[in-house]
Amino acid sequence: MNKTNTENDAKVKLREMHCKFNPLSRCDGSVMYSQGATVVIAAVLGPIEVKTQNLSIEGSYLECNYRPKAGLPQVKERIREAAIRDVLELALLSEAYPRAKMSLQVQELEDRGSIDACALNAACLAMLIGGLPLKYSFAAVHCIINEKGDFILDPEESETQHQKASFTFAFDSVDGDLLLVQTKGAFKIAQFNDIECICRQASVEIFDFYRSNIAKYHSKSEDQPLATIESARSELPMET
């Protein structure tokens, strides 16, 4: 969970991440993802049939739903939903499936700080597992400045009580470009730049987490020798 403070008085470690693939049986890909005590389930469906009003002949339509832990989605959840959709629209290779819909559902199970980043990371993992075409994967990191002026990366809910400013960054995996910036509160430009650097470093850790977990998942589901697969895929259709 909370790692000890390493650099002067800033906390620069992410909370421990866990994920479980395909906990749900009826969707095309789902993941239960947790960062510390914050837990979300994300599920994707796609490509699926689309309503005529949303139909696009150039690319697929992306639908994103965010459900809070209890009750109906309110304005706060809608904003989060829109943020997730904005990032996904950038990352999704939508021209691969024209006239189709990609649907993403995010269910919040427990919000103990940095839910925005957690929901985005879960969305990315679900897309990867569901086999949807992406231009790149992405990782989101949350960071705050507390009342003493220290930076706290991936804070616990208790640590956010007296925050001065909060930041959420999302980065892509290829060029490390910024995909999303959300800020709240008062801060200096220098602090913003510092935090961006910290978050960028932390995003590398998240990408490593994605990679190792997906590799583990694939090696588990296919422990057969490689040669048998390669020799026997003749009936598989191949597209150029």
């Binding site: 395909n22 969707c27 095309d28 890909g29 469906l45 796609g46 490509p47 699926i48 049939e49 689309v50 002949i57 990352a91 290779l93 691969a96 499936y97 024209p98 006239r99 189709a100 819909k101 990867l128 597992i129 569901g130 086999g131 949807l132 075409p133 992406l134 231009k135 790149y136 994967s137 892509d172 995996s173 290829v174 990408f207 994605y210 990679r211 997906i214 998942y217 694939h218 588990k220 589901s221 296919e222 422990d223 057969q224 020798p225 490689l226 048998t228 697969i229 390669e230 020799s231 026997a232 895929r233 003749s234 009936e235 598989l236 259709p237 191949m238 597209e239 150029t240």
Partner: protein, 224 residues
């Protein structure tokens, strides 16, 4: 992982033409992955990214199982598990003529071949080969139908897969496997059919080594 350059394929492409399968795409002179999974290679020049998938994307020549949804004019709408419903003409059956229409009702299962698959148009199916014979295609009567992952369906269809061979040792049965992740089985009794279906579904979680064991267990499950 998506967005990464696949150098192996680029190197292979230098001296010969390569075929990029699902999960790989070309960006200018680079080969970039769009899915996450292990890279597979089949001689001489085919590359693709293998991943666990439950959603079917139609491709020409695939054998699939579909459910008839509705009749629209001289077409039937068939649900094949992809984004769009597929269409099949009533003339695409053996010995069908304008007067002699096939008797299909909503809910019927069809074992058919994909004639036409393109992202921009709705897929088209046929139930005959180019000689007008039905072969093994057509309506599936009775039996039991269930869904599985695409990977399991492909695994069963591999020639080297021991599962079907092991299962035939236990009992005689009919099976139709669609690469859209749908399987239809029929054995002599209801009991055997359900047992078979359960055995096949349990292969989903099993590793390659356990296939023999599960198929062998089937017999003991039947007797209890």
């Amino acid at each position: 992982m998506p967005g990464e350059r696949v150098r192996v394929v680029e190197d292979a492409a230098k001296n010969k033409r390569v075929i990029l399968g699902p999960g790989l795409r070309r960006l200018d002179d680079k080969v970039v992955a769009s899915k996450a999974g292990p890279l597979r290679h089949k001689d001489p020049n085919t590359f693709w990214v293998d991943n666990y998938q439950r959603r079917y994307v139609p491709a020409r020549g695939d054998l699939i199982i579909g459910i008839v949804k509705a009749r629209v004019g001289d077409l039937y709408r068939v649900d094949i598990g992809s984004a769009d419903t597929a269409a099949i003409s009533y003339l695409a059956f053996e010995a069908a003529t304008k007067k002699n229409r096939p008797d299909l009702n909503p809910g019927d299962l069809l074992y058919a071949r994909v004639l036409n698959a393109n992202a921009d148009i709705e897929p088209e199916l046929v139930c005959v080969n180019s000689n007008g014979k039905r072969g093994k295609l057509g309506v599936l009567q009775d039996g039991f139908f269930f869904k599985c992952s695409l990977n399991l369906a492909r695994l069963l269809l591999r020639e080297s897969c021991p599962a079907l061979a092991a299962l035939t040792d236990e009992m005689p049965f009919e099976i139709a496997v669609g690469v859209n992740g749908r399987i239809w089985v029929k054995a002599h009794s209801m009991r055997e059919t359900v047992g078979l279906a359960n055995a096949i579904m349990s292969l989903e979680q099993a590793g390659y080594a356990e296939i023999d064991k599960i198929c062998g267990d089937l017999n003991s499950v039947m007797q209890t």
